[in-house]
Each structure stands twice: as C-alpha cells, then as structure tokens.
Symmetry: C2
C-alpha cells in the first residue's frame, strides 16, 4: 500500500533516491550524502486529497518527492529533488560556493578523530603536560560567520580535558582548554589554531602546562553523590489501555485527530489537526532554533548555532527508552536518517506518544447545595528529544481534552563552557565550576503554525486591552475595552504585554453563533526578550526571525524554515526576513503564523554539570471557536474511576495500598 | 501537648476565644461573630523558638493569640485579640464607622432569604411575568465603593432566573436579570433597586416581562451533553506509599521540610521552608486577590472583589473529595471556620497534599557512547480550592525535587455575568450565551513571600540583560551582559520584559563557593498587564498592590495582607500602598517580597457555562544557591522503577495490560 502523503519517509524511498542520485554521477564524483528526507506535498494537491479522503472519494495520486543533500568532489554541495513514486530525478544542482549544507552526525566523529590525531594539535596538547589519568576530548562546533569573503566550510574544535582516567562519561565540558583548532570541514585541511581568553578581556596567552583542577561530574559513577533522596515508585497505570489509537501516522485521541510524521530536520511535524470534528491546523512543527552566545570575544562571537538547519533536530534525535523518558502506556515512532553512503538508518523510538493527567480541567461548586461538578484535564503528548552536542531539547506537543495545543520546550543537558582563570569573573557569563565559565546565551525557537481554523482562509489579528477615558459612560474611570487590529500584510507584530496583547487566528468567513464574530484560536505566549545582538551583527542578519515574537506570511509551498533552507555559515537569512519583504496581503487568505519562543539563559551554578529543565510554552487556545466549553462532554471526575488512596498516618504504608491496584 | 506555634487554630482555642469575648459583652450587645483565626507569632520570638527546636534545646513558650472579628448591636464592627494560652483578652475595640469587616458565609444565605422575600423585590419579580417552570435566584455581591460619604455596610444583590423548573443545579448565571436590589448588610434594611443596562450604553429601562431564552447549563443532568469522549482510566499508583511523611503540620518530602497551616483568610500558609538542609523561606501565602471588572456602567463599576479580605479564601474553601480533586496517595488537612455564635466548624479536607510526576528533570546523552543520564522531576503539591460565589480558584503550592517553589493558580468556575439585549455587543465584554454577557475583568493576586535565604537577612535585586556597545572587546556587536540593581528601600520594581528583568532574593552575607557572589533565589514570572482602572479611581486607591508586579517591604509583624486588613467597601488601601511610604531601608535586612500574579481575563465563549482552567505561575528558583545541580542525588529514571507499558497496536488492549500492574 502506498504511504499516506503525510507519512514519514520510507527506507525504500531513501534507498531509491540515493541510488538514483549516485547513478547520475560518475564514481569519481565521490558522492557523499548529507541529508535525505521527503518534501511536503504541494498544499493545493493535498487539500484535494484530504477532502477526498474525508468523503471516501477516490484518492488522487500525489507523488512522493524527496530532497537529497550531498557533497561531490569532497567540497561541492549539491541538492537534488527526486520523485520516488515515478523513480526519476526532478532537479539536481550544485549549489553556489559559500552555501554550506548541514552536517551529518557521522561526519562529526570523523572530524574528531582527524583533529585529535593532527600533528599540530598533538603538538599543542603536548604543551599542556597533562598528568597521568587525563586525556583530551574535542567537540566540533559549527563555525558560523564573521567574514563575508569566507567561502570555505569550516569547523571549530573546542578542546577539553577528560578527567577520571579518561572515563568515557567524564564531563569534559567542565575542563575547557584555551586553544581551539579550525579545520576545513570537507577536505579536513588544517586552517589555524585560535587561542581563547581566560581573563577579563580579549587577551590571549600561548598554551602552557594545564593547571589541574577538579572537574564537576554528572554521571552517577563519577559525581560523588549518593542517592540520598529516593522517591517511592509512582506508577502511571492504564489497566484498560490507552485512550488513543494509531493507524500508521494517524492518531485519534479524545476528539483529536491528526497525523504525526518524523522529520530529520524538524524532529517531527503534526499534520491535519481536527478537534471534535472541526479543522484547526494544517501543520505544526518546530521551524528553527538559534542559540547565540553573549561572550563578545573571538572566537566566541561565532557561537551561533542553528540546530535545525545546521545539523537537524531529527537527525540528532534520542533513542527513547520505555520507562525512562515517558510514563504510562507508550506508543513509539521511529525516525530515519542516513549515512554518508545514502543508506537509511533507523532512529528507533525517536518520538514517543502517551497521555497524562494534568489536574483539574474545570470545577464549580454550587455553594447553596454543595454540589460539585469537576472534570479532569488530560493531555496527549507527542515528544521528541534531541541532543545537539552538549545541549538537550525536549520538544512536547501537547493536545488537551479542551482543545488546546500546548507547545512545550524543555531545555536540559550541559552548558557550553569556556575556560576562565581563577578569581576572574566576567559580566557575560557565570562561573559554574573551577576555571570554567558558562557564557550567557539565548535559545530562540521559531514554531511554524500553518493554521486551518475551520478551513484554510484565515486572518491574523491582535487584540489590545486598553483603559477607557473617563466620560459619561465611564464616570468612575474603571472601564476597559479591547481593540482589534488585523494584520493585513506579511510582516511581524510587536509585543505589547502591558496592553495584554493577544494574537488570534480567526476565520472571518465563519461566525460564532453566540458572539456573532469570527471563530478563532488565540496564541498565548509571554512577552520575551528577543535577539540581543545588534542590528548590524551577523547574528541578526542570519536570524531575522529571532528579532520578533510573531510573524505572519502568506502560505507558499516549501517555505518551512524560519532562517531559510541553508543556515550553516550563512551570511544572511533566506527565510522570514526575505519572505515578508514583499508585504503580501495576508487577510482572509492561506496564512502561516510563526511564533518565536525565546529565552535568555543566564546560567545558574545549579545548571551545571547537567541542567534541570527550564520549561517554556506557547498555547494555542480556542477563543470563540466553540459555542460553549468543549469539555462538557467529558465524564465527571470520580473516585470509582481514579482510585486514589488515603495516605497512611505514619511512615509505614499498610498492605492495603499494595493490593488496592 | 501544646500545638506548635505554626499549627492551625484549634477548635478549643476558637471556643475559648469566642467565650471570652461573649463574656466580656452584655447579652444585649448581641455579639455576632464573623471571623476567628490565630495570629502569627511575633517573628523575633519565633526565630528563637525555631532555633531551639532545631538544636533540641528547651522550647520557649509562645502564647497562642487569636483575632476575633464580630459585630455588636447589629451593625457595630469589633476586633478583639485573645491570648488563649493565658486565657485573657488582650485588646478589644469597636472599629471606626466605615470600617466594614469580612462577611461570614452563613450570613450570605440569610441575606438571600431576606432579599428574595422582601415585598419590594417580590413586586419587581412580579413584573417579569415569569412563565411556569422558572424561578428566581440571587447572588449577594460585595458592594465595593463609589462614595466617600457612604459609611453603611451594603450588599448588592444580582438577580437571575433559575430555569429547568427550578432545578437546584440549573445555571442561573446564564440568565441575569436587569434589576439589582441593594440592602444594608447587617440591619438588612432595603436601600434601593438599581437597574442594569442591556444595550450599548448606560441607558436603563424599567422592569418588564422577561424574554424567555435558553440558558446554558453546565450540570451533567442539564447540559444536554452525552459523555462522548470517555477516556480510559489513568491511575496514579504508589504501591509503596507516598514519599512524604507528615507529623502534625510538619511535612517532609525528598529533602524539603516545612509546615502547612490552614488559614481562614488565606486558605493556607506554608512556614519555615528548608531544602536539603538549607533555609529558603519563613512563610509563603496568598495575601490578597482583587477582581475588578471593566464594564464602566453603574452599578458594575462597583464590581471589585477582594476575595481574601472581603470573605476569606479559607472560609470559602472546598471540601475536597478523594479521587475527584487529586490523584494518587493523598493527605488531607481540615480547615476551621466559625458560625455566628462563635462555634468552630470543620472544613473537612480543605487542603490536600500529594506528589506527582512532572516529566523529565534532566537528561544528557553522550553522543559518543550513547550513554544517557536521565532523572525525573517530581512535585509535592499543597492544594486548596475556594469557591467565591461564581468563581473557583485552585491554589497549588508545588515544591519540586530540584528546589523550586512553583506557585500556581488555576482559575475556573463560572463567569460573573450581565444581561445584554439581543443583537447588542459591547467592547468591554463577550456575549457568552443568549442575552448574557461576561464583562472583561482582571484577576490580580498578591503572593506574600517572606524569604529566609540562608537566614533572615536578605536583599532583593533585579538583573537586566543588556546589549554591549561595540568596542574593541565587542567588535562584532553580539555581546551582552547583566546589570544588577539592588532595591535599597521599600517600594516596587517596575517590569521590564525586554531587558529580561529577573528578580532575585539574595543573602549578601553568604557567598556561593563557585560564583563568589551572594547565594540567592530568583523569582520568575512573566510580565503582565497590571490594574487597568485609572489612577484616580477607587479601584486603584483600594488596591495599590495591583498596580505593580513586585514589591519589597521591611518585615513587620502583622503586615500580611497586600490591600490592608479591612478591604470590604474600603476607600483606600491600608496595605502595601501605605507600608512603602516611608521607604524603609530593605537591604541586607529582614525583607518581604510581594509578587503580583495578574491576568486580564477577556472571556471566551468556551469559558461558559463553566470555565476550563486558565493557569498562571510564579516560580521561585535557586539561582547560585547550591554549588551544583541539586538533583544529582536523585536516582536515574529506569523501567524497573517506572514500569511503563508499550501500547498495543490496534484498538483492543490485550489482557497483559490489565495484569501488568
């Protein structure tokens, strides 16, 4: 059976695409694959397909098209589009010099080996005079941009000491060194060694003997901690199974229906979302994330990762483990990446899906009768976790039983660190351990929300709450009203927390029977500091999306990534910053909303050596979409259903707790 | 055994206090009790007590003192302080005319009966010519303020139709009427009838026949909904019991220790909080909540509830039911209120405590070895729910296993409604059903945080993140730094989300060994719109706290309530607005932080007839308090501990799920 157009790419499709590309090149071209995934189908075709599917009509054929990024002749970067349904290459082109593609995770390991065995690096290591029991480790780092004339694809290697006799799980991030080799990415040619400052300013010093300090370890075998706070088991038991069903990519859960597909760049995308028989969105996914650092000194000024465009959130997805990453009854989906030969590689269990209780959904007690109505909130979670070198990002798309989509990001993992001399402190970073500093930085994520609020023609507006002036109508000066402003043209909307600015996606063609106004969904997100780098900086030019919290564009096929298709060492943004330039009309049209979730991360010592999650959310909330609380058809919360237990007074639990399951 | 000074008031103490007060009055004074609870002990005495307790030294005696609010001669309002340890009245005074005390929930029912049977009200009801099957209901409403010369204690009665043959659970809020009697609260004298506008402006009309419209019902017996979306059971099972223990008011859970006491005004307060052997706070509680409405028209301009000062969050606390309000292994605490005779009345199960899973706490995968470290976040929840007439507020104080205090408010219940004519819409409200409008309003809550970060001498500062100017040090314009500003004097700090302003409570006498800076906790809360009423309005004068998001005062005994002790019909704030006027020094002193959690509520149709929770949080987060991640001593997340289950492919769950418990 043919895959659904929204299904993830198949192994066989990857094999076919890479074969067709390889066959189109001479062996001497040395094809080296970097990334392969399917494209989204053209939306106009897909709308017809979904309509037909909905009405049980014959389904139109939509060819599956894959994009293929690959290198030839070591350092040329190419892109091909392959129709795997009809088994032919649609286009194939060598990209202009200076366009740098994403890196394949496998390549990173090769670079490490190369750097660590390079004579000039070994010579530098020699100067450290490392005592016995210490080794060296390197983290290759995307080089970013500071020179418009730089056309080479470069990699910066940050160097660290690995303590504890080279224990593989020792936390090298705790012991950063002060030199940093730069190599060409593809040819692996040595370029130079950068030296890192350790003091108050940009002064650097030549490499000398390493001053032994104690690293801060996170691994249970090394961190010197005993498990002192042992919680009692807390089990999520679903004796009748899950409330959701899946069939291929299709998920159904308590009134929600949508499809989930893994994506090597985005982690996953969710398509064709409906709740209680009404259409809500066409597609939601993380679109880009940039992580610029605030340490102004070379070479740190180039620390601006683009974790989707530079390397791929899905390609770096974790293999999730039952009982470790999610509780309850779990459905896993595999992802697919490739190796440099163009062979598919399964990323087992890279997406997990489960439901969870989220407290009370609604409650009211009639004080006259003491009669209570109460229902519980439940969430369906689509989760993926990406490890991007030091950092982990947990991405949860949560659907609630009252029609909310809660986009949640939890940042965890290990801070990116810099060396710092004893007794030095700097205003752009936190000392998090002996001789180790974590620079202030920002995590700025763009979520692409392609809405379909009761259909594809939608408008975006923002609503400000404003004081009324005193008047005959408002004699006591307490009145306030909302003011709506429609977004007529592609562009951004500024934040305005003090007017309670609320963004809404509405369908002006569908009126709510109660309010008589357009049906809609609102976007709730706190006002946040956006990109701090100055306007003329490369950081800003490369990531226009990160300068504003909400963007609106007209829908165009293949406009998926907020900073553009190729971010690696980019000089300028080819995404949102470009797409809004023509100010296309976006009212009552097929629009896309780009919500920027940003947080400035001023590291705490507590974030080291591994960071407790910092959680941020964007909520899409029905706002005059339904004609009443959409949760009224949920059952009342009851003890016969929930089976709670009274705590024992005193420490020892009675056996009844054990058998009360 | 004598109660711990932080323990909730005892039945016997209430009986004694009310007896002593009653005995001090002639029977002809007609003592009518309104509120009785214990006062907090003087802090200086209490610090000595806690020190002695900590070191096992003999405990000093701290007398238990109760405050007693009561009326005499129908309308005089009095306050007494009673030492119940030594069994004597400390002070007793009649409060000045114009000071209105809180209302006893019992009185509300009396008022209802009185209003509903008053001839002038019945006469008005007559004019409605209600068809068979409809009845009348009234909600007494705190009158608030609009006249400096008004010294009487008044109550405004909003009138509603009760449909469905007078079914007791019918949602009268759906069918508001256009007249509103006003009575004197104590004497129950009729004052007048206000008429409510139904159109675009303040025009009112005399009462005429009621136009029959369909109400919007929430009760399962009436709402016409079938349970269409039946979730499968999701049980929180703790086969070895809870991870917490309680002994009286003392709670211990995974490194946390504190005491919980119910409070008739605040719901509950948490005292003497320690985590991992270090002191964090002296006391945390909700301090006040004001709910001003934005409909400018009389009499709605007087809709400004003070839910703590006017009636009491604890006095209106719900009786929580096992398996309905919280899942898992539950510990309940009872609250105590009184009746007008001064007899204690138990509010059974008004506080529940339990723990819950909160997803991943930290994770890191070493991409070289694919070795993952992952621990789970767990929360200990202290929950109470108050029903304040139409609205419900769920107050959760959540303690996490990484040292965070998460103050969470969930607003639910029923919108306060106004009549609106057909085909009218107004810019200060949402039409939520036929002829019923819910005015825009704000919920502004003050949380009083009395910190003790490694001791009682603390300082408050705020930290802004700012761009660095370009310079030799910052040649690429990407640098950014933080700037600290200490709060030297009592007052407020403005919000500044675009500089990522973060508030910190630090102890300048205790340096973090890693950062060499003061240890601290940060307060994380999104910037929010504060009180919208204009500066000259009574709304602002009565609730200075609601105009700013963060306040700092020097600690003084009995300064607990942000809008002052008596808020009912107050003309002016006697709380924070007053206390900061002297600008007392607050640096490195015993300080109190008041965090304002506010949200402007623009009702959605979905918020009716009962509102899905809207959730808001303030987080207190260790920030350079510990010398590393304080969660490293937690066990790794494992399947052997968590016992998750793979979902069945296909709809029917296999038996294994059932027996896998």
């Amino acid at each position: 059976m043919a895959p659904h157009p929204f299904d993830s790419v198949l192994d066989s499709e990857i094999r076919l695409a890479s074969k067709l590309v390889k066959d189109a090149h001479a062996a001497s071209d040395k094809v080296h694959f970097v990334q392969i995934d399917r494209l989204d189908p053209p939306k106009q075709d897909m709308i017809k397909y979904l309509e037909a599917e909905k009405h049980g009509a014959p389904l139109p054929t939509i060819p599956r098209v894959l994009y293929v990024y690959y290198n030839t002749n070591v350092s040329e970067f190419n892109k091909a589009l392959v129709n795997v349904t009809n088994r032919h290459i649609i286009t194939k082109q060598k990209l202009p010099e200076g366009v740098v593609g994403p890196f394949l995770p496998d390549d990173v390991t090769d670079w490490e080996d190369h750097c660590m065995s390079h004579p000039l690096v070994l010579q530098e290591v020699q100067k450290l005079q490392l005592p016995k029991g210490y080794q060296i480790r390197t983290d290759p780092w995307i080089y970013a941009t500071d020179d418009p004339n730089e056309k080479r694809s470069l990699v910066q290697f940050f160097m660290y000491v690995l303590a504890n006799g080279g224990h593989k799980e020792s936390n090298h991030y705790s012991l950063p060194l002060k030199f940093s080799p730069v190599f060409e990415a593809h040819s692996k040619k040595f370029v130079r060694i950068d030296y890192l400052p350790g003091g108050f300013d940009e002064t650097i010093t030549p490499t000398g003997p390493w001053q032994v300090v104690q690293g801060v370890e996170y691994h249970p075998e090394l961190n010197g901690e005993k498990v002192m706070r042992e919680p009692k088991p807390l089990l999520i038991q679903q004796p009748e199974g899950a409330s959701f069903t899946t069939e291929g990519s299709k998920v159904k859960w308590l009134g929600w229906e949508f499809r989930v597909a893994t994506s090597v760049r985005e982690g996953f995308a969710v398509y064709d979302g409906w709740f209680k028989g009404r259409q809500i969105f066409y597609r939601i996914a993380l679109s880009e994330m940039t992580v610029p650092y605030g340490d102004p000194r070379a070479p740190y000024h180039r620390k601006q990762a683009f974790d989707l465009g530079d390397c791929g959130f899905g390609a770096n997805g974790n293999v999730l483990k039952l009982g470790c990453d999610c509780l309850g009854v779990i459905k896993y989906m595999d992802g697919i990446t490739i190796n440099s030969a163009g062979e598919p590689r399964t990323l087992a269990n890279t997406v997990c899906m489960h439901e969870q209780d989220a407290g009370i959904l609604y409650k009211h007690v009639n004080y006259r009768t003491e009669e209570a109505v109460v229902a519980r909130k439940r969430e369906f979670v689509v989760q993926t976790i990406a490890t991007v070198a030091n950092y982990e990002y947990i991405l949860n798309l949560k659907f609630t039983n009252d029609g909310i989509v809660d986009i949640e990001v939890r940042a965890t993992g290990i801070l990116s660190t810099m060396p710092i001399d004893e007794n030095v402190s700097v205003p752009w970073g936190t000392t998090v351990g002996p001789n180790v500093m974590a620079a202030y930085h920002q995590h700025i994520l763009s979520f692409r929300i392609d809405p379909a609020v009761d259909g594809h023609k939608n408008s975006v507006l923002y609503e400000d709450t404003e004081k009324m002036p005193r008047s005959k109508l408002n004699p006591y000066g307490i009145g306030f009203v909302t003011k709506k402003t429609f977004v007529d043209n592609a562009g951004y909307v500024e934040q305005s927390p003090f007017t309670n600015r609320t963004y809404k996606i509405v369908n002006e063609n569908r009126l709510n029977p109660i309010t008589k106004g357009p049906v809609g969904y609102k976007i709730m997100m706190p006002a946040k500091q956006m990109l701090l780098a100055d306007e003329e900086s490369f950081n800003s030019k490369r990531a226009a999306f990160a300068t504003q919290q909400l963007w609106v564009t007209k829908y165009h096929d293949n406009q998926l990534f907020a900073a553009g298709e190729f971010t690696n060492q980019s000089q300028t943004d080819t995404g949102l910053g470009e797409w809004v330039k023509e100010k296309e009309p976006v009212r009552n049209d097929d629009v896309v909303v780009w919500a920027t979730l940003g947080f400035t991360h001023i590291p705490r010592v507590e974030d080291f050596p591994v960071m407790p999650v910092e959680t941020h959310n964007i909520h899409l909330v029905p706002a005059n979409f339904f004609d009443r609380n959409p949760g009224l058809d949920l059952p009342q919360s009851s003890q016969s259903f929930n089976k709670s237990v009274l705590v024992e007074t005193g420490a020892a639990p009675k056996a009844c707790c054990k058998t009360n399951l």
